[in-house]
C-alpha cells in the first residue's frame, strides 16, 4: 500500500475530527486509526513517521500517528 495513500487517508480522518477541540480531534483520529486500520497499515504509517517525521500529515493526523506509534510499540514490547 502506498504511503502516500495512507497519509491521505489519515488526513481525511483528521479532517473530520478537526472540528472538535485539539485534544478531542487527536483522540478521535487515534481511536479511528486504531479501530479500523489493519496492523500492516499502522506499521507502514508508523514507519513513515520514523523515516520522515510524518511528512504530509496534518498536525492532528501527525499527533494521532505519533500516539499510535507509541501505543503499538508499547504493545509489542509487552507481547
Amino acid at each position: 500500500m502506498t504511503t502516500q495513500r495512507l497519509v491521505h487517508m489519515a488526513n481525511q480522518v483528521a479532517g473530520f475530527f478537526s472540528s472538535y477541540s485539539e485534544g478531542e480531534a487527536i483522540d478521535g483520529t487515534f481511536t479511528h486509526l486504531r479501530s479500523f486500520w489493519d496492523p500492516r497499515m499502522r506499521r507502514e504509517i508508523e514507519a513513515h513517521l520514523a523515516k520522515t517525521g510524518g511528512a504530509g500529515l496534518t498536525p492532528i493526523a501527525l499527533a494521532a500517528v505519533k500516539r499510535l506509534a507509541e501505543k503499538d510499540t508499547a504493545a509489542q514490547k509487552s507481547a
Binding site: M1, M9, S18, F36, W37, D38, P39, R40
Partner: protein, 946 residues
C-alpha cells in the same frame, strides 16, 4: 407441496378500532368498520361471485356479479362497494341473485372466445371459475353478432407477457393495478361503450410507459394479460414462498413450479415487505438462474492465461485449500482473506467470515457493503447506536413530509417507491435532494414541493444549510432534544451549524441551490408533521459519506423525527442482503451484531464457541486488500458472489491487485469478470437452489426456501464448509438452520431468531430477543440504542476530486430499473430490451458545446482512465453533470471512477468523478485491451471424449 393460492377477500382489509356485527346468510360476522360486505362474507367463508374485484385494489363496482340482497334495502347492491353496517342482514345466494348473475355471465361469455382448452389461463381463469360458480350452462346470444374476437392484434411486444384484447372483459383491474398499486398510470381504457379496450396509452406495451412490474398481469382475471412463460409451459403445479434476490426491498415471492422447473415468480400477498407487489426484475428477470452461462463444474488452473480445467469438487477444494495454506506458510497468516456477498444468505455470509476468522486465523474479511452502505453503518452507529435504518416500510403510511436524498427509488427500489408514491398521492409532501431530476420530482400525480438540485459532492454543505435554518429559525424540538440527546453534543452542534458559513446563503456557492429554496425545504421538514428521510448511495458514496449520514441523523434528532411511525432515517439498501451481510460480521473490525474484534468479552465468547484463538486486530478492507496485493503483502483471496473487477472503482487498480495475487478463488454462479483473474472457480447456487435467510433494508429477516436442487450439486454454505474442512477447521452443519441457531447464540440482537420463529411470524425484524420476542419494527422508540442520541459536528470538506480545464464535468453513476448492478443477472434475461447498453446522459447545453448529438459515440475520460459509450441527451441532468450506469461489462464505467473514498469507511466516491466528454469513433484503449484479456482468460478446456 401444492400451489399456494392466497385468499382473495375482494376488497382491501380495513383497520378500525370499531367493529361491526352483521348477518350474512344467517351467520353472524364481526369485522372492522369500513369493511365491504364482500370481504365480510369472505371472512365468514362465503365467496360472493366477482370479476372486477380483488383485494389488491379499491372496489370498483362494475362487473355486476357480486350483487347481494340486504333486508330493508331496495335493489341488489354490489357487495364490493357496500360497506357493512351494524345489524345488516345480507343474503348472497337467492333465486333472484342467481338469475341476475347468470344473465351477467351470459353477456360476458357471449363476447369471449371459448378456446378454454387451449387457453394459457386454463385452470387459472376467474371468468371460467365464475361461469362455474353461477352454473352457466348455455349462452342464448347469437355468436354471429358483433364481438371482439378479431378486434385487434395480440400485443406480444413485451418480453415477458402478452396482451390479447380479444379476451378482455374490460373489468379495469389492470388499469387500476397500474394506478393504485404501481402508481405509473401507463394503462387506460381507450374508446367508449362497445369500443372500450385496455391500452398502454395507444401504443404497444414495450414502447409505452409501462414498467413491466407485472401488477396488471397479476390482476387480470382472464388470459388477456398472461406471462409468456405460462403460455409456453402451462400452469404450475406447486409453489414455494421465497425472497427475491435483487434489491434491498426484499420482496416475498411464490416460486411457482412444475417439478424442478420454474414457471413464474408471483409476488406473495402476505409478504410484509412488498404486500403482493413486484418489479420487472423480481417478477420476470429470473431466467439467469438457469441460463446456459451457468458454470456447474468446479475448475482450476495454474495461470490466469491457462484454459480452465474442469475437476471434481474434491480436487477443486483440495487445491484451493492447499494454495491458501501454501501462501500463509510462505507469506504469513495475514496474507489471505475473503469477501462475503450481499447476494448470499445470512448463513452463508456468517460461514465465510467464520472461515476467515477461525480458519484463516485473521480478520481479513470484508463485504460488498464496503462500496455502498458502509457509511450508513458508521454514521448511524455513531449517532443512534446501531448500524441500521430506523423504520419498517409500513411506516411510510404515516409520513407527512418525505425527504428523498441521493436515491432514485422508482428505479432502484421500485416496489417501495410504489408505496411512497401512493402516500404522496394521498397528500404527503415531498423534498428531493438530488443532482438529477429523478422521476419522483415529477411523475403521474406526484410532484416534489422542493427539488434541491445540488451539485454532486456538496451533500454535507446542503445538510448543514438545512440544519442552520432549523436552528436559527427556532425550529428545534427542544423538548425532544432535552429528553433524548446528549446535551453537550447538541450544544456544540447547534453552535456549529449556527455559524454564518453554514447558512443557505453561504453554502449556495457550493451547492448551486438558491438559499430561499433550501430554507423553505428546511422549514417544511421541521414543521410539516411526521418527517422521514429516505436515502441511498447518493449519500454514502462520497468522500464525506459518513459525515452526511451523521448530518441527516442530526436534523432528525433536532426535529424529534426519530422513534415513532412516520419518521426516521431510512437507508434504501442496494442489494437483497446488504443489511444481513453487515449484521453477520462481514466487516474486518466487527463480529456479528457490530461488536469490535478488540472487545475481549465478545471475542472470548466467539473463541469459546468456535474453539480457536481469534485475532484482536482489525483486518483489511477490500480497497486495503487490493492496495496490499499491489504492494505485495496480500496474496490470496476467496471471493463469494462478488464481482470486484466490474463493480469496484478504478478497475485498472482492482485488476492489478488481482493479478498480483497467487491464488484467487471465485465462488459464483457465473464466470464473472473477477474470474478472469482467478485460479480456482467454485460454482455457486442461485437463490432458488438453497435454504437460508435474507435481511432487507428494514431489518426484516425473511426465509429463502429451496425451490430446485443446486445445479452444481451444492449450496454455497456447503462449499464454504468443505473449504473450511479442507483447511483443517472443522465445520459440520447439516442444515442452514443450525447456522442461524449459532448466530442467535452469539448475537444478542438475533437471540430470538430461528428458522421456526421466522416461519411462525412470516418474517421478523431484528432486534429479536427477550425484550422484543416478535421483533422490532421501529427502532429507538423509548430511547436511543446508545442511550442518548449523539449530535456530531459535520463540517463540509470539498472532495479532493476537482473539476478543472482538463476535466470540467462531474460524472455520477447509478443504476436503472431494468438492470441490476454489474448486470450479471439481468444481462442474462430479456431485460436487455429496455437497456441493451450503458449510455452517458448529458445535458443539452453540454452536448451542444461539444457537438454531441443523441446516440453519438463519445469518449468519457477521467484522470484514471477512459471509456467510450453512446450519448443520450437528457434534461434530467443539470449542466456540468453527466451520468451513466455500470451494468455492462464492455462499458467499463468503473475504469473512469477514482479511488477517492469516504474518510471513515473507504466507501468509494462513485458519485463524483471529474471527467471530459468528447466525440469519438472508436473504443478506448482499455476496452480493446480488456476484450483481448477476456478472450485469453475465459477459455475452458474441452474434455476429451472417452
Amino acid at each position: 407441496m401444492s400451489l399456494i393460492k392466497e385468499t382473495d377477500f375482494g376488497t382491501p382489509a380495513r383497520e378500525s378500532d370499531v367493529t361491526v356485527t352483521l348477518t350474512i346468510d344467517g351467520m353472524a360476522v364481526t369485522v372492522p368498520a369500513g369493511t365491504s360486505v364482500m370481504a365480510a362474507a369472505m371472512q365468514a367463508g362465503t365467496k360472493i361471485p366477482k370479476l372486477c374485484a380483488t383485494d389488491m385494489l379499491e372496489p370498483f363496482g362494475s362487473c355486476r356479479l357480486c350483487l347481494v340482497e340486504i333486508d330493508g334495502r331496495r335493489g341488489t347492491p354490489a357487495s364490493c362497494t357496500t360497506l357493512v353496517e351494524a345489524g345488516m342482514v345480507v343474503h348472497t345466494q337467492t333465486e333472484r341473485l342467481a338469475k341476475l348473475r347468470k344473465g351477467v355471465m351470459e353477456l360476458y361469455i357471449s363476447d369471449h372466445p371459448l378456446d378454454c382448452l387451449t387457453c394459457a389461463a386454463n385452470g387459472d381463469c376467474e371468468l371460467q371459475d365464475m361461469a362455474g360458480a353461477v352454473g352457466l350452462r348455455e349462452v342464448r346470444y347469437d355468436k354471429g353478432g358483433e364481438n371482439h374476437f378479431d378486434c385487434a392484434e395480440r400485443d406480444q411486444s413485451n418480453p415477458y407477457f402478452d396482451y390479447d384484447p380479444a379476451k378482455c372483459i374490460v373489468c379495469n383491474r389492470c388499469v387500476r393495478a397500474c394506478e393504485e398499486v404501481q402508481g405509473t398510470f401507463a394503462l387506460t381504457i381507450l374508446g367508449r361503450g362497445f369500443d372500450s379496450r385496455v391500452s398502454p396509452g395507444g401504443t404497444d406495451f414495450l414502447s409505452s410507459e409501462c414498467v413491466s412490474c407485472g401488477a396488471c398481469v397479476q390482476a387480470c382475471p382472464t388470459a388477456t394479460l398472461v406471462e409468456k412463460s405460462v403460455v409456453a409451459m402451462g400452469q404450475p403445479e406447486h409453489s414455494k414462498v421465497t425472497t427475491c434476490a435483487y434489491c434491498g426491498v426484499g420482496c416475498s415471492f411464490k416460486a411457482e413450479m412444475q417439478g424442478d422447473r420454474l414457471v413464474r415468480m408471483v409476488p406473495y400477498k402476505d409478504g410484509k415487505a412488498n404486500e403482493g407487489h413486484s418489479c420487472v426484475k423480481g417478477r420476470f428477470a429470473y431466467g439467469y438462474a438457469t441460463h446456459k452461462d451457468r458454470i456447474t463444474s468446479p475448475m482450476i488452473r495454474e495461470r490466469i492465461t491457462d484454459p480452465w480445467r474442469e475437476v471434481s469438487w474434491d480436487e477443486a477444494i483440495a487445491h484451493a485449500a492447499s494454495e491458501i495454506k501454501r501462501i500463509q506458510a510462505k507469506y504469513g497468516r495475514e496474507s489471505v482473506g475473503a469477501i462475503t456477498s450481499s447476494r448470499c444468505t445470512n448463513e452463508e455470509v456468517f460461514l465465510v467470515q467464520k472461515l476467515v476468522r477461525a480458519g484463516f486465523g485473521n480478520n481479513n474479511v470484508d463485504t460488498c457493503a464496503r462500496v455502498c452502505h458502509s457509511p450508513t453503518g458508521y454514521g448511524l452507529k455513531t449517532t443512534f447506536g446501531t448500524s441500521a435504518g430506523t423504520q419498517d416500510f409500513d411506516s411510510v403510511e404515516d409520513v407527512d413530509v418525505m425527504v428523498v436524498i441521493g436515491a432514485n427509488p422508482t428505479d432502484a427500489h421500485p416496489v417501495f417507491a410504489s408505496r411512497m408514491k401512493r402516500r404522496l398521492r394521498e397528500g404527503a409532501r415531498l423534498i428531493v435532494v438530488d443532482p438529477r431530476r429523478i422521476e419522483l420530482v415529477k411523475t403521474a400525480h406526484v410532484a416534489a414541493d422542493h427539488h434541491l438540485q445540488l451539485l454532486p459532492g456538496t451533500n454535507v454543505a446542503m445538510i448543514n444549510a438545512i440544519a442552520h435554518t432549523i436552528v436559527t429559525e427556532g425550529l428545534v424540538n427542544e423538548a425532544y432534544v432535552a429528553e433524548r440527546c446528549e446535551p453537550e453534543d447538541f450544544k456544540r452542534w447547534r453552535d456549529f451549524v449556527s455559524q454564518p458559513e453554514n447558512s443557505p446563503e453561504a453554502t449556495e456557492k457550493y451547492t448551486g441551490v438558491p438559499a430561499a429554496e433550501v430554507r423553505a425545504a428546511a422549514r417544511l421538514y421541521a414543521t410539516g408533521g411526521n418527517a422521514a428521510i429516505y436515502y441511498g448511495l447518493g449519500v454514502t458514496e462520497h468522500s464525506q459519506g459518513s459525515t452526511m449520514v451523521m448530518g441527516m441523523a442530526n436534523i432528525a434528532m433536532a426535529t424529534g423525527n426519530i422513534g415513532r411511525r412516520g419518521v426516521g432515517v431510512n437507508p434504501l439498501r442496494g442489494q437483497n442482503n446488504v443489511q444481513g451481510s453487515c449484521d453477520m460480521g462481514s466487516f474486518p473490525h466487527e463480529f456479528s451484531g457490530y461488536r469490535h474484534v478488540s472487545d475481549d468479552t465478545v471475542r472470548h465468547l466467539f473463541e469459546g464457541a468456535w474453539g480457536v484463538t481469534l485475532d484482536a486486530e482489525p483486518g483489511l478492507r477490500i480497497p486495503n486488500m487490493l492496495d496490499s496485493a499491489v504492494e505485495g503483502s496480500f496474496k490470496g483471496i476467496y471471493i463469494q458472489g462478488e464481482d470486484i473487477a466490474q463493480s469496484d472503482p478504478n478497475i485498472k487498480h482492482v485488476t492489478d491487485g488481482l493479478k498480483a495475487m497467487e491464488c484467487v478463488v471465485v465462488h459464483d454462479i457465473f464466470l464473472n469478470e473477477t474470474a478472469n483473474f482467478a485460479h480456482v472457480f467454485l460454482p455457486g447456487a442461485s437463490f432458488l437452489e438453497k435454504d437460508g435467510t435474507f435481511t432487507n433494508a428494514e431489518r426484516r429477516i425473511s426465509m429463502v426456501n429451496k425451490a430446485m436442487p443446486p445445479l452444481a450439486g451444492y449450496a454455497d454454505w456447503e462449499v464454504t464448509m468443505m473449504l473450511s474442512n479442507a483447511l483443517g477447521y472443522r465445520m459440520d452443519y447439516k442444515h442452514p438452520s443450525e447456522i442461524m441457531d449459532e448466530i442467535a447464540r452469539l448475537t444478542p440482537t438475533f437471540k430470538g431468531v430461528s428458522f421456526d420463529r421466522i416461519r411462525e411470524l412470516g418474517s421478523v425484524q431484528w432486534p429479536c430477543n427477550d425484550a422484543a420476542p416478535e421483533g422490532t419494527p421501529i427502532m429507538h422508540e423509548k430511547g436511543f440504542v446508545r442511550g442518548k442520541g449523539k449530535f456530531m459536528i459535520t463540517a463540509f470538506v470539498p472532495t479532493d476530486e476537482r473539476t478543472g480545464p482538463r476535466f470540467p464535468l462531474i460524472l455520477t453513476t447509478g443504476r436503472i430499473l431494468s438492470q441490476y448492478n454489474v448486470g450479471a443477472q439481468t444481462r442474462r434475461t430479456e431485460n436487455g430490451a429496455w437497456h441493451p447498453e450503458d449510455v452517458l446522459e448529458i445535458h443539452p447545453h453540454d452536448a451542444e458545446n461539444r457537438g454531441i448529438r443523441e446516440g453519438d459515440l463519445v469518449s468519457l475520460a477521467s484522470r484514471v482512465g477512459d471509456t467510450t459509450l453512446r450519448a443520450r441527451i437528457s434534461e434530467r441532468m443539470q449542466p456540468g453533470v453527466v451520468y451513466t450506469t455500470f451494468h455492462h461489462v464492455g462499458t467499463g464505467a468503473n475504469v473512469v471512477t477514482t479511488e477517492y473514498s469516504d474518510w471513515a469507511t473507504n466507501c468509494p466516491e462513485y458519485k463524483v468523478t471529474a471527467v471530459e466528454v468528447r466525440l469519438s469513433n472508436q473504443q478506448s484503449e482499455w476496452q480493446r485491451s480488456y476484450e483481448e484479456l477476456r478472450e485469453a482468460t475465459r477459455k475452458i478446456a474441452t474434455t476429451a471424449a472417452e
